[in-house]
Subunit: 164 residues, 3 copies
Amino acid sequence: MSDDIAVVWGDGEARTPLSAFDAALADAGIHNYNLVTYSSVVPPERSVTTVGQVEAPYEVGTPVGVVRAERESTRPNETVAAGLGWIRAREGGVLMESDAGSAAAVRADLREKLADARRLRDWDWAGDPELAVHEHTVDRTGAVVVAAVYGPLAEAREAADGRR
Amino acid sequence: MSDDIAVVWGDGEARTPLSAFDAALADAGIHNYNLVTYSSVVPPERSVTTVGQVEAPYEVGTPVGVVRAERESTRPNETVAAGLGWIRAREGGVLMESDAGSAAAVRADLREKLADARRLRDWDWAGDPELAVHEHTVDRTGAVVVAAVYGPLAEAREAADGRR
Amino acid sequence: MSDDIAVVWGDGEARTPLSAFDAALADAGIHNYNLVTYSSVVPPERSVTTVGQVEAPYEVGTPVGVVRAERESTRPNETVAAGLGWIRAREGGVLMESDAGSAAAVRADLREKLADARRLRDWDWAGDPELAVHEHTVDRTGAVVVAAVYGPLAEAREAADGRR
């Protein structure tokens, strides 16, 4: 796996919301790691790439840093949507999470959040916001997830070492 | 402490839910670490052992990775129950969390979640699901916790190094 | 930045609660890191210092361990307050989080939680509890945050190495 931050997504159905979430993580290829939630800043040296699904890049049980948006529902026929949006600058980037009852609502919310994030930072912005949004109509108990995979916590340390 | 993932549990009472949770962590022996929540996968080389309580295996303030289930209540005489269940395969293992109003409800929920987790992974499963469930009847403000202690975040990195 | 744990605070306004929280983090100087939540124990060798705001001590996107209290509201003229309290002993220290509708309520809650935390540990306590509380009256959508910044996850490992 390259040094890019991989944006992945998935949906799933199961008998409980937690199991449906597990199924959605499996659909995205990240169900076999110990996910640790990051608050959502992109280091300047890393790109963000939408890949949809990762194929077992790390060993089972590896602690992996992620930014994620998710939504679960136990109501048949309800739509669940989640998404991430990001915007880059020379100094770094910002990721925003959103979940709602439709992909359109997630997109509108992400655009608003990214505009706010941009206003807040006096950075040299490059390019337009990018969005990755996924929606799912619930059969019985369903979940949807979109995640930005930063990679193993261990490598965050190696990167820090390399900069010294 | 061995390389096993230790499953511990405890309950506590205090004047606020957060303090009751702190007391429950103390009862389990993990109140003096900085707990970082993992999403619940077991690496293939590690066993899971129910030990009930750990006795100060790390220095105060060490960041420690855990999977945990908890429940608090401020209603006297209410029962709070939490539990973890896990199932192992040659490729690794899966832990599931649950909390409910009784140990029986937690057990039923965990069995369902583990069956779903198993269906989701094409792994070479070994043995039956194992459960660790703890319940507590609230006196004034009470909490119950069950946690799987993976150990210091630092050692996750050393393990990763060792595998290279 | 010294080895002290820095307590910072801020408030912010934006069009969504998440963006207002981002603005509050910016006000505290910690909006450009990937915050990882710790459960709130202070190692014996570290001091806790109230600094209000940090000035870019780490590179953008660094995973940083924090204990935090926050509160958001979308109701104009509502007051949101958050705070941390801590107490030190020879063996280490304990931080407690609180949020409420006023700084006075946060302070009362923190004192109660710290008294409980102290009762729970048979430690050689030194000094009185210290509190850092911040409140904000919402204009449209507002947030307040108080955080204890432990520093990069990476350095937690170096400290662990150093102790061996």
